[in-house]
Amino acid sequence: MIRQRVQYVEVDVPVCTLVYGVAPCMAELGVTGAVKCTNTRRTCQAIESYTETTTTLRFAVDVGDFLPRSIPAIPNIESHDNISFTAGEISLGQTLGTRSSLKVTFRDHRHSDVGPGYDPYSTERGYDPYRQGSHWGKFRARQPYLQGRPIRWIQGFADQALADMDTRHFFIESFDGPSLDGRYSLTAKDILKFLDDDRALAPRPNNGELATVMLAPSDVSATLQPAGIGAEYAAVGYVTIGGAESVAFTRSGDTLTIVRARLGTDAAEHEQGDRIQTLLRYDQEKVSDVLYDLMTVYGAIDPAYINLDDWHDEDDAYIGRLYTGNIAEPTAVRKLVNELIHEVGLAIWWDDLAQKIRFQALRKILTTAGRLTPSNVDEGSLTIREQPTKRLSEMMVNYALRSPLHPLNEFTSYRESRFLRSGQAAEDYGTPAFKEVFSRWIARFQTNTASRVGAIQIGRFRNPPRKFSFSMFRQEGGLVVEQGGGYLLSGWPMQDETGVKVDVPIQITRLNPLPDRFQIEAEEMTFADLDLGDIGDPDPPPPPDSPVERIITLGDGPNVDLRAVYDSIYSDFGTASEDDKLPITFILPSGRTIRSVTGGPALTVSSFQPVS
């Protein structure tokens, strides 16, 4: 029996729960409109009483004879080819990658206007709705507010229940039509589109200005204008005045009580009218928490799409560090997220099947991963491409930003730097391959964290990874591959120096689930077994999948409490037990000074006893 492919598209459209003219709906025939609404926002005649819910419209690819009658759907998608999908690409350790794009083209047709999401008053209109207008013509007039609405792409076989089919989740970006040729199309993206520069800024822009005529460097109170604008600000936090000074504040109404010259800035004089912008501060937080906050608070992504416990588990197991960042001006969330992906060594992608944003530290592929072999890779589909431009042998990591008002991409803005180098790699390849990172997220003392950036990136790209493209038939009972998944790929072109075929660890960076096969792009996922001393780091950071070491380089400073320094970088001491023992090494490089002020000890160890 040949399996019969079916595909559906579900669209969640907003509709009003009220009945026209029945309280609390304030519409009245002949007064608010000549005809009744269609219970949509666009046709609403009493918008103040509009009460929204969503209803689902289901459409199917017109596969003909075997379309299951038990699954109600309008078969107005002419063929499988009318669902086109450009899979998003995961950019491993680099950026958020590209967005998935789903485009569904529907055929226009007549419709009875009966059913959930259609005209609830169709029998009262005085015309036969089947013979007046068309499905998509009327839909366009009623439902223009579709951006961000959920759309589901469902793939299955005719003998499956709808709930057992693969359902992929996206969000409507735009629509087009109906056109003269009777076509209407919906285009949707994955949820990370919400982080785009044109729709997500962190911190959010403020409208407040300094009302105080002249704010001297010693003044500790400031007033906001216009009146009432204080409600736009938090009760406590940090702001930047006139783009020149960051201050801590507590707020009462429009009045700020301020602590001057914070976060590395100097107290300055400010004038009436200087803008006052909230400064977003993450102080010693897990990168998973920072990303969660950026995405859900500033990117307006529904927290239901993130499993924060999973993120924490990944963070604790493979990252284990705290990050600090001060963002003084409204900045694109995408840019901030990209910085963290690069500096921490992450892969972040939308799992359209599970409806979750995935968070993964770059790490080795397990040797137990699923195997993709010549027996399940489509004939003639495999292509292999070298990516020499991705090679990396040297890295300069600049960190400890002097203040959040310093320009990010200037060497002089940073108090500390680490230069990491794999001399062997440069020798092997004949030339060095250099990259520089400017990190606002790595604070002073976090030498080990800065070194880790280099270890991850050089380890990952010391030998430039190959890119693989191939397809896999959707075989009954066969391996079902996943976006972001790690696998072992074999084929005759992959050999060792003796000609023996070897498995190449890969991570799938792009997956297009066609009706009959998966189209796959993947990147070789190897980490060089570096002699970490070889990369010129006196405090060698751990390889990506080994237990996290604890090596902290101290800077200049007074009255240093080693436990406090440790807690500013790592979050795990309070939960450690006897079984979790790890050596902690503090290094004071030559030339640095730790001194005593106000009579206290220059250096204390404080308590490092694990909890029982």
């Binding site: 040949i2 399996r3 019969q4 492919r5 690819v61 017109d62 596969v63 003909g64 004879d65 075997f66 009658r69 109600p72 759907a73 309008i74 078969p75 063929s79 499988h80 047709h109 007549r110 419709h111 009875s112 009966v114 059913g115 959930p116 029998t123 036969d128 089947y130 013979r131 072999t373 010549p374 027996s375 399940n376 890779v377 489509d378 004939e379 003639g380 589909s381 495999l382 038939f473 959707r474 075989q475 009954e476 066969g478 084929g491 009706p515 009959d516 096969r517």
Partner: protein
């Protein structure tokens, strides 16, 4: 009196019919305003029966004896009833057709109760009459009835048969299949992407005056026009179907007094 063309049943064959002539039931007197049912599920009203879409269903919420009534123009002659996309066969539902000749008149049986064995389109042909209304009396066993399309109207009886070389709609499958083969030469299986029914209905040497009087109004409907049809009602009632034109038909006036025409059709047979 009646001929029920269905894959499962030929109820009776009366001498009044030319049983060999192909028939096309495209005229339909059913209207939205004139269609009602004793029972309907929300969002599956009886008015859905008055449009040709096979995905817009009337669904009953009841398993009691019930009626679906079609008020029609009592001045127009009728001689057929068509039903498509239904569950009358799989539901074991007894179907009886009744007619009301005049407004407020008595209902009388037009077709005695019958049961079909499957859910293929049903084409019921009866002697020409006029009526104020026609209704289906449905007696379910345990399954509420549902129907997508109903026609009541006057048939077009073709004066000539379908020539040799015809592919019955039921056999006219167009199937898209994709097959997988691995790099190692393994057969990975096949997946069917679509399967649709289509064929051609060709009629040759129609008299031009007959064409002008009877077929031209149908041809005028153009691409998308829907109809019930049976190409061989006498010998092969199981080949009856509900079909639609997939291209605009163009008659060819081949010589003085004669017309050839071919209909490209798609359709459903179950």
């Amino acid at each position: 009196m009646a001929l029920i063309l269905s894959p499962s049943l030929v109820l009776s064959a009366a001498a009044d019919y030319d049983l060999t002539a192909p028939v096309l039931g495209w005229e339909n007197d059913i209207t939205v305003a004139g269609t009602s049912a004793d029972s309907s599920v929300d969002f599956y009203p009886a008015t859905n029966l008055a449009n040709p879409a096979t995905n817009l269903l009337w669904k009953s919420a009841s398993t009691d004896v019930q009626y679906v009534t079609f008020a029609i123009n009592e001045e127009e002659p009728i001689d057929y009833l068509g039903i498509a996309r239904h569950n009358l066969g799989s539901g074991g539902i007894i179907v009886e057709v009744e007619v009301q000749l005049f407004d407020s008149g008595e209902w009388s049986s037009l077709i005695d109760g019958f049961v079909v064995a499957n859910d293929a389109p049903i084409l019921v042909r009866f002697l020409e009459t006029t009526a104020n209304a026609v209704r289906l009396k449905l007696t379910p066993l345990a399954t509420p009835p549902e129907i997508a399309v109903a026609h009541v109207g006057h048939m077009m009886v073709m004066p000539v048969g379908i020539p040799f070389g015809h592919t019955p709609l039921i056999d006219g499958r167009s199937t898209r299949i994709t097959t997988g083969n691995s790099e190692a030469g393994d057969y990975l299986g096949s997946i069917m992407l679509s399967q649709k029914l289509n064929t051609q209905l060709a009629f040759q040497y129609l008299r031009d005056d007959w064409y002008r009087a009877n077929m031209r109004p149908f041809v005028k409907q153009g691409r998308g026009a829907t109809f019930f049809y049976s190409g061989f009602p006498d010998s092969h009632p199981e080949e009856a179907g509900y079909a639609w034109l997939t291209s605009d038909p163009r008659p060819t006036f081949i010589e003085a007094g004669w017309v050839n025409i071919t209909f490209e059709i798609g359709g459903i047979v179950e």
